[in-house]
Symmetry: C2
Subunit: 340 residues, 2 copies
């Protein structure tokens, strides 16, 4: 039973008293239907399937809060799930922490909570713990969300940059730049003929299927902030090897490419929220690609390049569509604040 006495968040909703209790019992708990959370203990008590777990955290400050393809709530679930997925674990539990600006509309909060709940269910994880803080008007921009997550490591899976060797193939599960260009264009209120849509999605279903069926996966990472350029540079530096990719093989939605060109962005540096890069032994590459292509989140998967010998320092090189070569630099980081 909801007692909607307030349309907007008050500072007192974060005071730890009666109003906090109402907020939690009438607005937050009903969104997340599980016994562990319902206990409202100081910590959630979990019985995991294994002692070998993964643990991660991310705060989300995306602006605008709602965008085509998702919102800050869906993003907060998928982003953390993806961090658990790419290290070779199956996500099982999330903890959710909200920092809310005084005056934030309850209607928007409920939309975000519904979205969190839906994304968690869709990805088979429970929100088992939470926290809500309020700050005075002007001390935060509407709402910030932190999610932390626990995943159980898949049996026999041991991914690492140190496993990567020359000849390994580089696979991505679909088009790049969709999330970042959606946020930017919506923030700048720029319209394109075809609508841009964030790729925001939880990848654990696909990554677990890959890891359970293909033995040659050596490393995975989700190219979020900094985009494919940052992730490939991290992989190159971490493995001490060069990476060579072919521009023609990197899937890009034409509207995303047009938007990036128009606004002066290199699509390689634009954030993704439903993509992973996998480094795979050459003999496993086709199996990987097939599993991706048969999954809804991998229909446009592509082998985009390979790991090669390093000459001097490790670097990432791209062969352009017109046959030229250039180095893909680590982006500096200035271009796209509050993308996630």
């Amino acid at each position: 039973m909801k007692t909607k006495k307030h349309d907007r968040i008050l500072l007192a909703h974060g005071g730890g008293g009666q109003l906090t209790d109402e907020l939690i019992r009438h607005h937050i708990l009903p969104s997340f239907n599980n016994d562990t959370l319902a206990e409202l203990a100081d910590s959630a008590k979990l019985n995991l399937a294994s002692k070998s777990v993964c643990f991660t955290t991310d705060s989300y400050v995306v602006k605008p809060l709602f965008f085509n393809g998702g919102d800050i709530g869906k993003l907060a679930v998928c982003g953390t799930i993806n961090d658990l997925a790419v290290v070779g674990s199956e996500p099982v539990a999330l903890a959710l922490s909200l920092i809310i600006e005084e005056g934030f509309e309850f209607e928007l909060l409920e939309k975000i909570l519904a979205s969190i709940s839906e994304a968690a269910s869709a990805n088979g994880v429970d929100v088992v713990a939470g926290d809500t803080k309020t700050v005075e008007a002007g001390a935060a921009d509407k709402i910030f969300i932190n999610t932390s997550g626990i995943g159980v490591r898949l049996d026999g899976v041991d991914l690492g940059l140190n496993k990567i060797t020359v000849g390994d193939k580089i696979i991505i599960n679909g088009t790049i730049g969709d999330h970042g260009m959606t946020i930017i264009s919506q923030r700048e209120d720029i319209k394109f003929q075809s609508q841009l849509k964030s790729d925001c999605a939880g990848l654990a279903g696909l990554t677990c299927e890959l890891l359970r069926n293909v033995s040659g996966v050596k490393f995975m990472r989700d190219p979020t902030r900094g985009g494919l350029a940052a992730t490939l540079n991290e992989i190159s530096r971490g493995s001490g090897l060069n990476i060579k990719i072919n521009e023609a093989d990197v899937p890009v939605n034409p509207t995303v490419q047009a938007a990036a060109d128009m606004l002066g962005f290199d699509v390689l540096t634009i954030a993704n929220e439903g993509k992973f890069v996998a480094i795979v032994a050459p003999e496993s590459a086709d199996d990987c690609l097939n599993i991706c292509k048969n999954h809804s989140l991998g229909k446009e998967a592509s082998i985009i390049g390979e790991v090669v010998e390093t000459r001097d320092a490790p670097m990432v090189e791209i062969e352009t569509k017109i046959g030229g070569k250039r180095i893909v630099q680590m982006p500096y980081g200035r271009q796209l604040p509050r993308i996630c």
Copy 2:
């Protein structure tokens, strides 16, 4: 080797590129010296001592950032450790997420990171995962910190509100209101003859010692936001039983009492950050008290009351020093924003 090119946080420090990498490698990693974090994987890989774990999250928005007895960093570590401690677990790992306002001074960030590191070490936990976001000037108030934590449940310990029965004793490990009154008086720039000092401390050492040595502990909770009043009301409601406490037995630092009286606060509603309330079987109460009194964080521990029959609805009653009785209400929550 630190390359301090910047005195203040730039938006680009959160962009996921080169500057984020510098921030992490030169400022954050050196504060937390452990192999799990140093791997900089998308999630930390942990091998826990048990499958039976506790998991919690809290965001910290305290204002001011630095206060007598601690700062937002120490608070963020101790608060989350305490949430793990009071449910009967031994904290093992923290994940740390920073939301930083553009322009925040690196010098302050480093002080906070040092404080986080010190508090984590003092409490025997590792910071194994992290995240840093930046937002533009004016979109957050300096810095917000989220910590989430994993604890391993103590063998044979099973605490719960459902264990509480009539006759159980209520123990607190020391004086109440110190944290809240310190923050308030510092925020309002009010000086008292004796200096107020936050009780901010990690309780896991003491709670684990108690739980390993005394079998009659039934439930614990740390009275943070909403103070002892909120915690006792939650325990009363959750157990369906009345709680009766004696004002004369509740330890209060005289300066805290004077500050509360002067500013018109009920000290029972003021936040604590180094206290727990334990509900203990009567035959175990003295053992509990002794263990507390022999620990640096429990020297002023006291049996403050007991669990009694409910007449109508469960409630908390206090017998005042002058022999009167009053009901201790659940605080509304309005009084003390940003106390933690």
